[in-house]
Symmetry: C2
Subunit: 240 residues, 2 copies
Amino acid sequence: MRHELFYWPSIQGRGEFVRLALEEAGADYVDVAREGEGGMQTMLDLMENPALKRPPFAPPFLRAGRQIIAQTANILHYLGPRLGLAPDSETNRIWAHQLQLTVEDFVVDIHDTHHPVGSNLYYEDQRPEARRRAEFFREERAPELLNYFELVLQRNSGVGGHMVGRSLSYVDLSMFQIVTGLRYAFPKLMSRLEPDIPGLIALHDRAAKRPNLAAYLASERRLPFSEEGIFRHYPELDGA
Amino acid sequence: MRHELFYWPSIQGRGEFVRLALEEAGADYVDVAREGEGGMQTMLDLMENPALKRPPFAPPFLRAGRQIIAQTANILHYLGPRLGLAPDSETNRIWAHQLQLTVEDFVVDIHDTHHPVGSNLYYEDQRPEARRRAEFFREERAPELLNYFELVLQRNSGVGGHMVGRSLSYVDLSMFQIVTGLRYAFPKLMSRLEPDIPGLIALHDRAAKRPNLAAYLASERRLPFSEEGIFRHYPELDGA
């Protein structure tokens, strides 16, 4: 089945976690809002369609046949088994999903370093608040969450393995994105923290070399990081 | 099977969404950290246990046999079908879960009205930031999210029905908690918004009268709202 992904066309954002899974699996999909002139309008029209019984609150969402599925972690929970990127048993899938929901928490923390007051305002209008929030992020949340994921990896498989079970899952791809994104947004912080997370760094490096993922990352389909997305590089938020 | 819930013993917090489901279903469960003197230590020991292959990042978590499940929405996704509080088909369960994940987003917004800078600081140390964040919440996020849930209810069943399908699910219980909690924390805001959400208010009122839920709410097991939890009443954050 051809999947249709709906997400903002100019940023990686939350949609990127879904794109990575679709790309690694070589899935047949359309990134609707990036398709031609009317793609963005198609997405907005669908969200506002009064005939839609089960409207999504926000992008990203996926259309699979007649079903529309929103919430990043929920999309991956649905897609994972269909793309061969989730473990086999229900118990293991719940565990993978639990980790992905913790990734979502991390994403909120990362986003809120530059938008602690509200996503309706520009970063420039919440700079003092952002400085305080970013300090909390650098000193507490980022090390806490990265060390947690490192511990999960080490307890599952040691440095050379996967986050869940014995094969690649969407959780590994999400960890790749977290490491890559944090390196872009907080290079100083990451050079301080990386020695403590050798497993995640090795996992990131192996993922980047997988043929499908490498081809995607080198393509125009991979949007660049920018100061419009979740991972933003503002040097003043990266600490001394 | 007897379930063990692990959550902070003195607040409703995120754990309350799970407690409501267990109580409404009349489930056999233990709220471990609230059991006697050592309950809290039991929870902390479990989280730090180096033999745990799949440690939770934070409470709440549920132990069901040998499985430990964390992340509130994930716990409800697991428990729902087992407690008779989720729809039957996989498609409908994914939709219920999607709504619960949107409730989780709402909870983050509610929490961050009083903790926009960081959960490591007291509210008193982030008051100016909280005022700005709360304004964004009152003017944008709260009406946006409440109106969304009202629309979902109306499109599913009209004012007199349920959030998903034709019978009670954990999503209905979560909407009850959101309405009750917002009335406690933001009474002025809610008196302004309630005329726009007649379905959610009716759903809240019907839920409160269900025998199991009413018995729970009247019992000592239901912790009071307080300025330690997610829903906090700070008049200065409730607007003019």
